[in-house]
Symmetry: C2
Subunit: 394 residues, 2 copies
């Protein structure tokens, strides 16, 4: 019996456990402290009523013989795939129903998509980054080349000269930096990928937070993307589905390599190793994409973006360099002179009783930066930033 020994090469991620440990220790010695969590990457507002009603109706359907549903199509019900296609059409992107695969979330698909590729491929991954991109490749023993995201490139790395890549991860709006690629920048990536025969794995989980109409909300807004890109998206942040679990992945029919159609390969992967998303949840997701659902979901997003504006304004007032916060729920701020990201974490926890996320936890280029998020309550965003301003080193 041989195990997959690449698992033993994985580093344990201590980021969130270390944060929780430090917060718990602080609270133990300051039992009355009112600690504000501004590092949280999870939504806090409840599901919109359109979803709630649709799901209750769907539960009732499942409880009656005439309307009960057993196995559904692994790739999602037509009613939801069609609703997603219409959502894309509003962005100016034409997709066919069978280019859309409904799943239990972008995280699953971002990991599982690697089944389709040989383990000898070279993978380009930005640094700092969502750790899932890195770990899922290490698990299969792939070579990773990191793309440095820095102040110089505004945390938006561009195609590296002289590098032959096979798989390229891009996330825009970015987690953790909140930076968003513009149309011209994405066009350069699409040209690079098509030129190299590489595949772009484009994570658009935060597309609904884009306010600036000139910024692309799908990679397929870029001509040529259908021959090189797979797009991963989710209802998690768009509609508060982090605990309800529904996402979708677009694999265009034009995406082929040699004789192999990636659309057909992914269909085969999903029909073999997946059995679809709960009918109840698909009804809830489809309700998000109705006119009323979109309006309700946008209200929640507007609430979060008002938090983001409060955070961004406070940082501007302090003269702190940051990315994000305008078209993204994340704000990525530079640490002050003499502070690494954990030192800033300790300062804010101890003096301001504010918890953020040290950038070093997202990769070596994250050192010297700190992530704040807009997913909390309004009052906490206001009070948190007042406290941060009060203790910030000048």
């Amino acid at each position: 019996m041989r195990m997959n020994t690449h698992y033993s090469e994985l580093k344990e991620s201590y980021l969130f456990s270390e944060i929780n440990h430090k917060v718990a220790t602080f609270k133990a010695s300051h039992p009355d402290a009112d600690v504000i969590r501004m590092g949280i990457g999870d939504v806090t507002l409840p599901l919109c009523q359109a979803s709630v009603e649709a799901m209750k109706e769907a539960v009732d359907e499942m409880g009656r013989a005439e309307t009960f549903r057993g196995y559904g199509p692994e790739q999602g019900y037509d009613f939801l795939r069609d609703a997603i296609a219409s959502y894309y059409a509003k962005k100016g992107v034409a997709l066919e129903r069978d280019e859309i695969f409904v799943s239990d979330g972008a995280k699953s698909d971002l990991g599982n998509i690697l089944d389709l590729f040989d383990s000898q491929n070279t993978v380009l991954i930005p640094d700092p980054v969502y750790p899932v991109y890195v770990d899922t490749n290490l698990m299969a023993g792939r070579r990773i080349q990191f793309l440095k995201a820095t102040v110089e490139n505004q945390f938006l790395p561009m195609p590296p000269a002289g590098v032959k890549a096979d798989l390229i991860y891009l996330c825009s709006p970015n987690n953790p930096t909140g930076a968003v690629y513009n149309r011209d920048q994405l066009a350069q990536w699409v040209a690079y990928a098509n030129d190299q025969d590489a595949i772009l794995l484009f994570d658009s989980a935060y597309e609904a937070f884009i306010r600036d109409p000139s910024l692309p909300r799908s990679i397929y807004e870029i001509p040529g993307a259908k021959t090189c890109a797979i797009e991963f998206c989710s209802f998690s942040k768009t509609a508060g589905f982090t605990g309800t679990r529904c996402g979708y992945t677009v694999v265009p029919k034009d995406l082929t390599r040699g004789e192999m159609s990636l659309n057909r390969m992914w269909l085969r992967r999903q029909t073999t190793k997946f059995n679809g998303v709960p009918y109840i949840v698909q009804r809830g997701a489809a309700a998000v994409l109705t006119e009323e659902g979109i309006r309700q979901a946008q209200q929640n997003i507007a609430y979060y973006m008002e938090n983001a504006a409060i955070i961004a304004n406070a940082l501007r007032g302090l003269g702190i360099w940051f990315t994000g916060g305008e078209n993204s729920p994340y704000i990525w701020m530079q640490c002050p002179e003499g502070y690494d990201s954990w030192k800033l974490f300790d300062l804010l926890l101890e003096k301001a009783r504010v918890v953020g996320t040290p950038g070093a936890g997202f990769g070596s280029c994250g050192e010297g930066f700190f992530r704040l998020t807009a997913f909390g309550r309004r009052e906490d965003a206001k009070r948190g930033m007042e406290r941060l301003c009060g203790v910030y080193p000048r």
Copy 2:
């Protein structure tokens, strides 16, 4: 860019599309024909009321700020893992909470578990078999050795002499044959696996259909299984969750190979590539495991098993050899002299207007056999078997 070329080695499964094609063709030429489907592997009774009520309550919780839930633990909420542990305790199996991993179904986990193993391993798979075991291994390029299930071994193959295996799939009660291993037979498999350092992948998705108290309902009822077996189970057939999606996988802490703990590896796999089952669905699943939920689920199972008894009695009356039907919703019958499984399919469709599943679709040893299932309506089971008796070659 290199693709995973093993995908091109997969055979397309034409079984169910071929069945659907033949039925559609027949109906086109016999528009008034009342065709009875007895080949269906999906449940037909609605969810039990305990689940329906729990899920509606959970949907409401998701719609209110005070009770909303975002990301849950990837491996499942404690309330459900503890309920599953109690369910096992009733079978006499002691499990710790963190040996239980909640998932969206046995199919996903049976495929994804292979991430933990090297692709050079040798895999033993029974024939006939649930095609997912075969395809998921072919996708990774593993060598498969088939274990012949035949009339001689009552479709319960035992450890082969002189074969060195690494991974072994067992499914009991079996799909498609309905055969169930007894305690002594499973003890031989456990001894063989421990002796060989092999891992048993034990699919117990149909355990709730076992009526005979002497038959094991979990591999862990066999001493020694915790050092060699992973068990996959599901609410799909137990509680009609085929479209609601919830299952669980047990990876004992005693299951280690070299320095590697399979429990820790699976935790790492799931936390990296999965984001948990919807909170709503987990509440519905936990309701199945309450006293009232178990009672309601058992009523549905009793309904199906009464169908199975009707089918089995009719076959006995005809003197047909079969397995299953007593502790399983599947009945696996021998085709009459001069009939292969597709020829019997055609006869039953054309003369009796009954649809079953040709055994050849489950593997080469399935040729000469035919699968009927108990998941339909009572009236259809009765009428279907009357018609089958009427046309059966003698």
